[in-house]
Amino acid sequence: MSELLQIGAQRPKAPEPDSLELRFSPTAVEELEALKTHYPDLKSCVLPTLWIAQREYGGHLSPEAIAEVAHRLSRSYAEVEGVATFYSMYNTAHKPGRHLIEVCTCLSCHMCGAYRIVDHLEEKLGIKLGETTPDGVFSIHEVECLDACDRAPVLQVGDQYVGPVTPETVDELLERLRSNPDSTVVQLADAVVKVHLRDGKA
């Protein structure tokens, strides 16, 4: 019986390296080559390469993106997936909207009304924490201390901190973001890649 189960079960195969659709742009490939020189081995290069992938794949580290990173760094898919799913700033679970609003709900922010901000955002956007608006513009996440307690309650959007916020300033922020056609999620990834690229140089 158990054997039948096992044999009959659908067991998808990991993609063959040749069948991968590589999507890194020429710039990304160049950046990757530069990054490789910063580290003693390719394993160390996984984190920055994931950032490149997050940018190249529109802010979402899909399984395909992870496979491409693994392929380009000669690591196993599983290993890279393990790394990517460990860190919360890599968007592996689902594709975020154009703008990802991360609300700090840790102690200081909590005491300064972070959940009122969360409630306000949820009501305003009609979605719950961890979800994306149907038009794909906004996602909201809850995060731990952003190390900006002096500005509590604080939000992070792309590479910017916004705070202290009130329901009114949040509304203004939403308007501003809605009219911004560029993805702040991708911008953040790009900014991180740039930081990494600078690092290796004196």
Partner: protein, 695 residues
Amino acid sequence: MVKLTINGIELEAPQGELIVETVKRLGLEIPVFCYHPRMKAVGMCRMCLVETGFKQPDGSVRMMPKPQAGCTLPASEGLVVVTDSEAIHRDRKGVLEFLLINHPLDCPICDRGGECPLQNNTMAYGPSTTRFIEMKRHLPKAFPLSQYVTLDLERCIQCGRCVRFTEEISGDSDLAFRFRGAEMQPSTFQLTDFESRFSGNVIEICPVGALTSAKYRFRARPWDLETSPGVCTECSNGCNVWFDHRAGKQVRINGRANDGVNEEWTCDKGKFGHDWYNSTSRLTKPLVRRGDQFVPASWSEAYEEILAAFADKGGKVAGLTGPRVSNEGLFLFKRLFSEAFGSDNVDHRWRSGPVPTGPVPRPLPIASLESKRHILVFGTHLAEDLPIVHLRVRKAWSQSGATVDVAYSAANEVERFAKASLRCRPGAEAALAKCLLGEAVWSGKATVSDAVRAELAGFNADSAEEKSGVSGATVRAAAARLGEGAVVLTSDRLLDAPEPPSAWKSLKALAEATGSEFVCYPTGTNAAGAELLGLVPDHGLSTWQILEGCKDGKIEALWLVEADPSSTHDAALETVPFLVYQGTLENEAMAYASVVLPMAAPAEQDGTWTNCEGRVQRFRQAIAPPGEAKPAWRVFAECLLRARPSTPFFNPGEVMEEIARVHPVFAPAQYSLLPEEGALVARESLVGEPAGGGG
């Protein structure tokens, strides 16, 4: 050596030895989950906590305020360790309480129940009640990770053994931890198929029932199983295994430790490949042909028919053996032919075409590969042909810093860690070997005789690209790495390449001329034994000649032992007037047989096997053969006795004594002398060289 104190006992230990190991030597136990002696210690589970302190100059002991993990704590001078205090017992309770928070405790329906480290440690050290009333984590159960491995994520205690195995030992890194915290789970990429040659090992090292065997699932409770120490007979590595059986049926295979051979690992071919023991097509009765039909016969009827056809027929009869016959069987087979039948036409080698005589392995012990500086794997798909040798080569690279090059005509796992891959065109092995040798000679690294030198004209790094498809720079670098401390390793798969003698000769010359060692491991289960016991025709016909002889009437009676050449030589079997097929399973060759003899499988008899490195290992009978099946050696002994009055052999031990008398290299393999880990029989006798084509 450093002096330290464990539980008040003063002792010496090598500096840096992990305290878990030191304590083990004392005969005490530190409970562990994540620690595994063959992998790096990671200190993930905290089960092994011990109290520590240091001896002060004035002789007093200053204890540390907090416990430390014994699996990551190195022995050092003056260290004081306490493994058995009230505090430690409280700590262990605490750790177990944490581990059990999310564990489903579904032991009654868990295959691991009864042999589960988590169960055992909980029993010995755990809290007997739970304070946990919250919801447990819920995750997929019985997920089919591969055709062999079933994953139950709820049971996982996140020790990382399985993940580390694929990273450190098998090297495919197919498993990794996804997510984090309580949700962390070992998994393949997106839970895709776990395709590894060594996946079965993770089942054994998982300290809980999170990874279980799909084949063994729900088939037995461990306490209902009987087990016998055995040797895997699926390939020539001769892995030591536990052969688990129940009510006379094979149930599962687990790895058994032998540092010289498989350490404690098995490959999936071996671990899951023993199903045929219980097959419904096992032969159970001697059969004789009456017209178009087989009728069951007694053994003596069968012997009479065989002797009538074979006895004293000299060169007109022949015998071919397959790989899965014990040393004792092989020896008596040869003796039966030479003494009772007067024929030297016996062979054990299987090649599709004319065979060069050989391969003659020079058995570099598998474990010695670890101490080599450089290994060139040539002309063999190592992980496929010799999985356990593959693990050793990888270990030489990962743990002793050896460099490895691989020359093969297709993608293969050695490439993952090889310094260079010399991926040649299929069939270009001989040319590549020559180019390497040429390069070594022209660069002044090696010297060869003038005759060889002349043969090498035009073969060098620059011509390698055109001759074999490997770039000149790669060949140059690979040749440069050979020399003192290097090994050129191949298997008899090389002989399947076109021009086998030439590839073999150039490769051997390459090794010798550069001062490297040369080893050619056979791949047939007991091929090394057959080679040592002379199951090659000295004067008679070789496999290919025998089969050709059957076709043109030169051979009148053929005896096949666990060998089936029907796929390539159907006509030969059809034409030969009298065919004996002796085997464990029904097969194609049977269709043409005059007599069919049921044969006992390896675990159904006592006997010894010689693995690829020339290690003779004992396999004790675990279960009874089905029906009237008999061990091959007994059949040959009985035939011999019927044909010639002689001293009978009553058991395989006596046969081995006779073997040792005739072939002194086997002296250490006599049962009374043979150590549990087997004996490496003398190496010289295995050194040789294949002659030209025997066709």
